[in-house]
Amino acid sequence: MLELKNITKVVGADTHIHPTDLVLERGSLNVLLGPTLSGKTSLMRLMAGLDKPTTGTITFDGKDVTGVRVQDRSVAMVYQQFINYPAMTVYENIASPMRISGKDAATIDREVRKAAELMKLTPYLERTPLNLSGGQQQRTALARAIVKNASLVLLDEPLANLDYKLREELREELPKLFAASGSIFVYATTEPQEALLLGGNTATLNEGRVSQFGSTISVYRKPADIVTAKTFADPPLNTIDLQKSGNTFDRDGITVLPVPAHLSGIADGPCTVAFHPHHLSLARPHDTAAVLKARIIISEIAGSESFIHVDCAGSRWVMLEHGIHDIEPDTAIELFVDTRHLMAFGTDGRAIGGHAGGSAFRAA
């Protein structure tokens, strides 16, 4: 169990990491999700021991490891760039951490072949990394991280430089690896979809702050604040600033949306209402859906579905609709909001009321 207690990192006048508490269990997969420069890499470096936190302590299985050097910790790391020893064969690359730790030849051979099989590298063991494709190079780096059998494995956007389809395949294989070992995995990504596909736990990061940490799907469904909700939305989250009064959400005294049952508990006053693009549609999804008027900005067709960008009373939204809908820009349309999935955030950005399909939610 890796425990970060009140960790901060200040470099010069810049605060890279604001006070952070995190507990990562053994055998768990933990995604750090956030845009570029949100602090994912800084946090990983702190976990690895490459950097020393400005304040706070890091414990591993109850033992304080705050000042312990990375060499003396059991850590493996895989980076976005494919980092291998260019002069060594794939076999030697994978074997290198075990050679350093002084394993016997038979064990090394067995472990290398096992990892190579898992990463589909068996046919390439005698090649050097530069004669491999990007995907194979990164698989070599991953295999090296696996055989190290470290108690903490840090993956910093490992799939970002790979082709889309290759990413999809490796993404499927990775959770299997995670499940098989007892290590703690930390995986940084900028893509919400990737976090959802990996599952496990997710910590959303923004400007050096962990805004929420919990099981991936619960963070997605029940964001504690609007920053988390926005970070964890792809296509982007649709938002509108409204005034709650009684059982309607109004703007300038005109009713925009009805208040759904799960949000009825919130106090009257200003708030931000938000919902995902797939909860907006061209056809009425159910009886209680609210109807709104909007203007088309642009329609994008993605095979089986369309992303329709609309302007609704000055708010720019995206609608994700099944089927192909190529509507000309500037067309006036009616669209429907599935109010059962609305989220509401107070003026301080905290989630208020409850979340769809769940009991009243209290921000952690």
Binding site: P35, D163, Y164, K165, L196, K230, I298, G303, I324, P329
Partner: protein, 362 residues
């Protein structure tokens, strides 16, 4: 703007190509419409960047001709072809201001300063960097720099074509949505001929009117996003487009009836298949219905990805992916049916379009 003709183009990087495998780009022969938005989509090493560089003039094809509006430009330099190109990584002139970066291609062509100012301000507004116009480009973040690169590609109104080489690689997911839709809108407004290279299917499908799917140096299919999704010509297209890709199952075909390892599926037509061909059935995960009726499946894993669930299952002793709606239920005794209109039949990996006159509903 120009119509682009690719006339029997082949390219090999080596000096004297002999066998077809020496060619990184096998024969390409197509006409691309004036004002069209094309995406070249494929995995790395498929030849898409080679083809783009041949169009831009950075590379001369080993064989064949390239024509812009009927004029042979094969041996013309990039400048003389009058094209704009945006690269994968930001290319900016560090010592210039943002404004001067955007004005550079215009000033080099002696566009009057009044016109330069008008165009540059338009672009600045579009890429959202108007407030930094007078700042040096050096101190900007990677995605701001890439916006400048994009802007420089769009600033000239007289170009024959605008080429994009994976331009959104360094952009954060949220910004991708904004930039992509802006490009698309711009295309609608001004009707530039645009060619966009990417390995990301979402980018390709949303950007282009026509997507050119490439694999191993060849164009496998050119089609609208809907065609690629509904009727992939080759199983590779089925696999490459869609996330997860199309389920491809080995199938025995008898008239209009398909036998999938004992499970029978009826087709709306009787595909005409050459004797001895390897036959397969393709069905997208979106068109597999999970319910209490139909053929039995064994579910191995359910991935909840927010707006939908991806069910990984075993069907007729093969892995199959099924997409279930966000609020969809997973039954305890799961069974599947295939949407008949969404079934494609493949012989030797190519889609069968001909049907036999006898049997079935054909």
């Amino acid at each position: 703007m120009a119509r682009i003709n690719l006339d029997h183009i082949r390219h090999a990087y080596g000096p004297s190509p002999k066998s077809p495998s020496d060619y990184s780009l096998k024969e390409v022969h197509h006409e691309w419409n004036d004002g069209g938005a094309y995406a070249l989509l494929g995995p790395s090493g498929c030849g898409k960047t080679t083809l783009l560089n041949i169009i831009s003039g950075l590379l001369q094809p080993s064989e064949g001709k390239i024509l812009f509006d009927g004029r042979d430009v094969t041996y013309l330099s990039t400048q003389d072809r009058n094209i704009a190109q945006v690269f994968q990584f930001p290319v900016i002139y560090d010592t210039m201001t943002v404004y001067d970066n955007l004005a550079f291609p215009l000033r080099n062509r002696h566009v009057p300063e009044g016109e330069v100012d008008r165009r540059v301000n338009e672009i600045l507004e579009m890429i959202g960097l108007a407030d930094r116009a007078k700042k040096k480009a050096q101190g900007l973040t990677a995605d701001q720099k890439q916006k400048i690169s994009l802007g420089r590609g769009l600033v000239r109104s007289d170009v024959s074509a605008i080429l994009f080489d994976e331009p959104l690689t360094v952009i954060d997911p949220h910004m991708k949505w904004v930039l992509r839709s802006q490009l698309k809108r711009l295309h609608k407004q001004f009707g530039f001929t645009m060619v966009y290279v990417t390995h990301d299917q979402t980018e390709a499908l949303t950007f282009a009117d026509k997507v050119v799917v490439m694999y191993d140096g060849e164009i496998v299919q050119i089609g609208t996003p809907a065609e690629l999704f509904e009727k992939p010509k080759h199983t590779f297209v089925g696999y490459f487009i869609g996330s997860p890709g199309m389920n491809v199952l080995p199938a025995k075909i008898d008239g209009s009836s398909v036998d999938l390892d004992g499970q029978k599926v009826a087709l709306s037509f009787a595909p005409k298949i050459a004797a001895g061909a390897k036959t397969e059935l393709g069905i997208r995960p979106e068109f597999v219905r999970l319910g209490r009726e139909g053929m039995p499946v064994t579910i191995s894993k359910v991935e909840d990805i927010g707006r939908q669930k991806i069910v990984r299952a075993s069907f007729a002793s093969r892995p199959i992916a099924i997409v279930v709606h966000e609020d969809g239920e997973i039954p305890t005794d799961p069974r599947v049916t295939f949407d008949p209109s969404a079934i494609n039949i493949y012989a030797n990996s190519w889609r069968v379009t001909d049907s036999l006159p006898i049997g079935g509903a054909a």
